[in-house]
Amino acid sequence: MAVCIAVIAKENYPLFIRSVPTQNELKFHYTVHTSLDVVEEKISAVGKSLGDQRELYLGLLYPTEDYKVYGYVTNSKVKFVIVVDSSNTSLRDNEIRSMFRKLHNSFTDVMCNPFYNPGDPIQSKAFNGIVSGMMVQTG
């Protein structure tokens, strides 16, 4: 399942980043940070050609030796990045999509919280729970 899930603000700084605790956390920070290059590139390319109607799901950003990095951009340019293990071949594109959708819904809930200040790191327990759910079990 996902080994790292990150939410990145419009201005490209992290709002939320969590990875499997057993592994080197910094490594995932680097992975997600560099994936933003590809995300930006993809957004700018789409923006030019299609205009308003665009797919939020960006698909595979780039594969590394050990991980696959998937991206998703909301209409307000908030980015979600999910890193999964390359060895996990059972994971289908559709499942990744549904993970992103779930993440997006939960993020919307966070934004609806009147006490949440947009732009601050996300500390919501409910959101954390959703993320934990995606990092543990499959599907």
């Binding site: 700084y13 920070h29 680097y30 940070h33 560099t34 290059d37 590139e41 601050d120």
Partner: protein, 890 residues
């Protein structure tokens, strides 16, 4: 071939390689001066044709790489320019011998060579030789460029003859098999008569001719040859050479599409003659048409023959195709372990093309592939080079984060444990270059705006690395600066343990090199601004305190009465005089006095999980000379708000502004300016300092009263003494006045005022002789004068019924008279009054309070103490009033 040339770009395929080498004793700076001049001849238009020959110069080239010259002719060293010094004729034979030795190295591929000899004069130097040029010294060689051009032309002649030779050699039977070094053993014992083999030979030769055409400036011919080569080689599955043919095709197309070059400004080309006359960017009239059919060229330089245009459009790949073919070529190269360098270089070339086409994502795929190309055992230096170039290429396609990532990897490689002499300096330099990629600025001002927004974990790592690298570089000053920055900006992200570690190492470094507020200049464009510790401790509010009541200046009312001293003659004005900016620094409505200790109160707290020692904490002011008296404080771990009073003495008069404070924490001094700290609450920091005033200390012979009366008004202060007297008794009260200031006291006034309303009770209660005291005036600093006041109590009981009652009300007890119960009540011992004598025979007593109020107000410096334009000249007065007061005892 093991060493890739990361600077390669597609245009390099049309260049010829010339190696410029020194031998013998050639000072390096002279060599590079000459090398630069030679290298300036990067393109030569050949006489009698419109073709241009491009030259690539190298001062080092591995002979091993030269062996790949048949595979791609631009890898072949075709020219050699040797540079040497020779001072005497007798050294000459030896020098000539060595020149031949130099030629030997590249003999298999060399078309021509030259030797530039410096320092030789005499008959040898006078002989005319084509392969030698003699110059008396490194400064007198004006025609080097011309010699090089001649040399290039001679190379061209050889190249052209080879091209024609190969191009016309179509017999097929005798076509030799060109091969790369690692293939040689594979072809031993192969059937040389098979069709398959022949086709292979033809295909490879075709590709080779294409290369030669490209070098000789015949772009269209090259394209045709490459196309044919691709067809032939595809048929025989000769993948390596097929890849090369495809790459040649790409290169030729790139050259025709992007005449500006893809290699960046390093390889930027001068517009050639043919281009200047050409309007369309894509239509570069190839000079080969001229050669084939001189009639095709019209006077304006554009080919009138449309057939060549059509042919060009067909042969030349479209921009999309170029990338497709590059991909294909690279996939073929990828099949051969030994062609790693070729594959890597092809990737680099493709990325450069994609960068021009602004197709960053595809470029990143090529780069991603390049990362995984295994070149076998790389030396550390090669690894560094590889990572740096990857970083540069990522930068080129706008992937700043990736670029920073690889640059950091390169930096780490510089100091890998396997390197015997780690290059900490290089590492540090590379790390600094990664800063923008991690959106990290080393200016703490950028972090003052609200909460930290960035990749804290990654940035912290980078800062730690900077600290470590600068320490290993032997520059503790830099380490201290970086550590301070880390502590200041990343405080919220450091764990308690990390905070401890960081501060410990900071203390450690700063003991060697105390940190200060100066800007550290690393290079012209990179300066490290100072890092003030505004968070150690955190200051919440700054409040300027008024002087203690007894020392507050008081203005004596002028003789002309109260002048209204406002700036405007109007009572109301709709124009708001203060702008918003001034609000923060608005003037406070009290004054400080020159020479008096003034105080500012800060509310601070310590965010650290351990005790914080702040040394040398003082005020930063401007406006007047200010002597700050620094304080040292020790704040307990994670303290709450903690008041700290900073003191100082203004030494001149004027308006003083408190700009901030300075601290010294962990051996780092910092100046924290309030304007940079928007979070700090302040009620204004501009206050007027008035010229120094005299100070008078007053002492009396009577014991002080424990009872403090209410101050009568703001401007009057009081201190109390008490005395108990019986009716009719007289007592002397000595008042000692001492001048404890540093100004002369010039006048003294004494008045008395009875506070009690029942003044009818008294008659001539106090009396004094001022004359004697006045004779001592003006009172110099440090001197004293005494004033004797006699207190005489006389109560008048005459005929007023309610007098006693009144007295009781006022707390005056009259004993000895049949007085009722209130007395007892009154007489109850109270803490602040001594028990009154039990002797009922005594007449009465009164509790007299002598209040001495020193009202200090002076116009010692009238002209300086003027308020606004108020023109008034007061008498220099120092007035003292003594109040006597009945104290209410109830």
């Amino acid at each position: 071939m093991s060493v890739p040339d990361y600077m390669q770009c597609a245009e390099d395929h049309q260049t010829v390689l010339v190696v410029v080498q020194p031998f013998g004793i050639v000072p390096e700076d002279h060599f590079f001066k000459i090398y630069k001049r030679i290298a300036s001849v990067s393109q030569v238009s050949i006489r009698d044709s419109q073709r241009i020959l491009y030259i690539r110069y190298r001062h080092h080239y591995l002979p091993e790489n030269n062996e790949w010259g048949d595979f791609q002719t631009h890898r072949k060293v075709v020219g050699l320019i040797a540079i040497t010094t020779c001072t005497s004729a007798k050294d000459w034979p030896q020098t000539a011998e060595r020149f031949h030795g130099q030629k030997e190295v590249y003999s298999s591929t060399l078309y021509d060579s030259r030797c530039l000899v410096f320092g030789l004069q005499g008959e040898i130097a006078e002989q005319q030789r084509t392969d030698m040029a003699f110059y008396p010294s490194f400064d007198e060689c004006s025609d080097v460029e011309r010699r090089v051009e001649d040399f290039v032309e001679s190379i061209f002649i050889v190249l052209e003859s080879k091209r024609l030779d190969r191009a016309t050699d179509k017999s097929g039977d005798k076509t030799p098999l060109l091969c790369v070094p690692f293939e040689k053993k594979d072809f031993v014992g192969l059937d040389t008569d098979s069709r398959h083999y022949k086709k292979r030979c033809q295909g490879r030769m075709r590709k080779h001719v294409g290369d030669l055409c490209l070098q000789a400036g015949m772009l269209q011919d090259a394209l045709v040859h490459y196309h044919m080569a691709v067809e032939l080689l595809r048929g025989v599955n000769d993948h390596l050479w097929l890849g090369a043919a495809l790459e040649g095709l790409c290169s030729a197309s790139v050259i025709s599409h992007y005449p500006g070059g893809t290699g960046g400004k390093l390889l930027g080309r001068k517009p050639s003659i043919s281009q200047t006359t050409d309007a369309g960017k894509r239509h570069r009239p190839g000079a080969q048409e001229v050669l084939i059919d001189p009639g095709a060229l019209t006077t304006n330089g554009i080919s009138a023959d449309t057939s060549t245009e059509i042919g060009r459009a067909k042969n030349c790949l479209s921009p999309e195709d170029i990338i497709e073919k590059y991909k294909e070529a690279i996939s073929y190269y990828g099949k051969y372990k030994n062609a790693g360098v070729i594959e890597l270089e092809a990737c680099v070339k493709a990325v450069r093309v994609l960068a021009i086409q602004k197709r960053a994502r595809e470029a990143s795929e090529f780069l991603q592939n390049a990362v995984y190309i295994n070149l076998g055992q790389l030396s550390e230096e090669e690894k560094i080079q590889r990572y740096s170039i990857l970083s540069e290429l990522y930068e080129l396609i706008g992937f700043h984060r990736k670029s920073a990532f690889f640059k950091r990897v390169a930096a780490m490689q510089c100091v890998a444990p396997t390197i015997p002499e780690p290059g900490w300096r290089a590492c540090y330099k590379l790390l600094l270059e990664t800063l923008p990629g991690y959106s990290l600025s080393l200016d703490p001002k950028d972090f003052n705006k609200g909460t930290h927004r960035g990749w804290a974990a990654v940035q912290m790592r980078l800062l730690h690395e900077l600290v470590y690298a600068s320490r290993r570089m032997g520059n503790p000053g830099l380490s201290v600066r970086h550590l301070s920055f880390l502590l200041q900006t990343m405080l919220d992200f450091l764990s308690d343990q990390e905070k401890k570690e960081v501060t410990q190492s900071l203390e450690n470094y700063s003991s060697k090199c105390p940190g200060g507020m100066e800007v550290i200049t690393l290079s012209a464009e990179l300066k490290l601004p100072p890092v003030p510790f505004t968070k150690l401790p955190i200051v919440r509010s700054v409040k300027l305190l008024n002087l203690p009541v007894s020392l507050r200046p008081h203005k004596v009312k002028g003789l002309l009465g109260q002048n209204v001293s406002t700036a405007s003659p109007f009572i109301y004005s709709p124009i708001i005089m203060h702008s918003r900016g001034e609000e923060r620094c608005k003037k406070i409505d009290f004054q400080w006095v020159q020479g008096d200790v003034c105080e500012v109160q800060l509310m601070v707290y310590n965010p650290m999980p351990y005790e914080l020692r702040v040394e040398n904490m003082g005020l930063l002011t401007s406006g007047v000379q200010f002597e700050s008296l620094p304080a040292a404080l020790s704040l307990p771990a994670e303290s709450g708000l903690y008041p700290v009073t900073l003191v100082g003495v203004p030494r001149t008069a004027g308006n003083i502004t408190v700009n901030g404070y300075h601290t010294s924490v962990f051996g780092v001094t910092s100046d924290c300016l309030l304007e940079d700290l928007p979070a700090v609450k302040t009620s204004g920091c501009l206050v007027e300092v008035i010229p120094s005033l005299p100070r008078l200390q007053l002492a009396t012979s009577l014991p002080r009263s424990a009872h403090t009366p209410q101050p009568m008004s703001k401007e009057e202060l009081s201190s109390s003494v008490s005395v108990q007297l019986f009716n009719g008794e007289t007592q002397q009260l000595t008042i000692t006045l001492e001048n404890i200031g540093c100004e002369d006291i010039e006048t003294l006034e004494v008045t008395s005022k009875v506070v009690n309303t029942k003044e009818k009770v008294f008659s001539n209660f106090l009396s004094w002789k001022l004359e004697e005291a006045l004779s001592h005036l003006p009172l110099k600093p440090g001197l004293t004068v005494t004033l004797t006041v006699s207190i005489q109590v006389k109560l008048d009981f005459s005929g007023q019924e309610n007098l006693l009652q009144d007295l009781n009300d006022d707390g005056i007890s009259v004993t000895g008279l049949p007085i009722c119960s209130p007395l007892r009540q009154v007489l109850k011992p109270r803490p602040e009054t001594k028990p009154i004598s039990n002797d009922s025979g005594k007449l009465e007593y009164s509790h007299i309070k002598v209040r001495c109020a020193a009202l200090s107000s002076s116009n010692q410096h009238t002209e300086q103490h003027r308020h606004r334009n108020e023109e008034r000249k007061d008498m220099k007065t120092y007035s003292m009033r003594i109040y006597l007061e009945w104290i209410r005892r109830a």
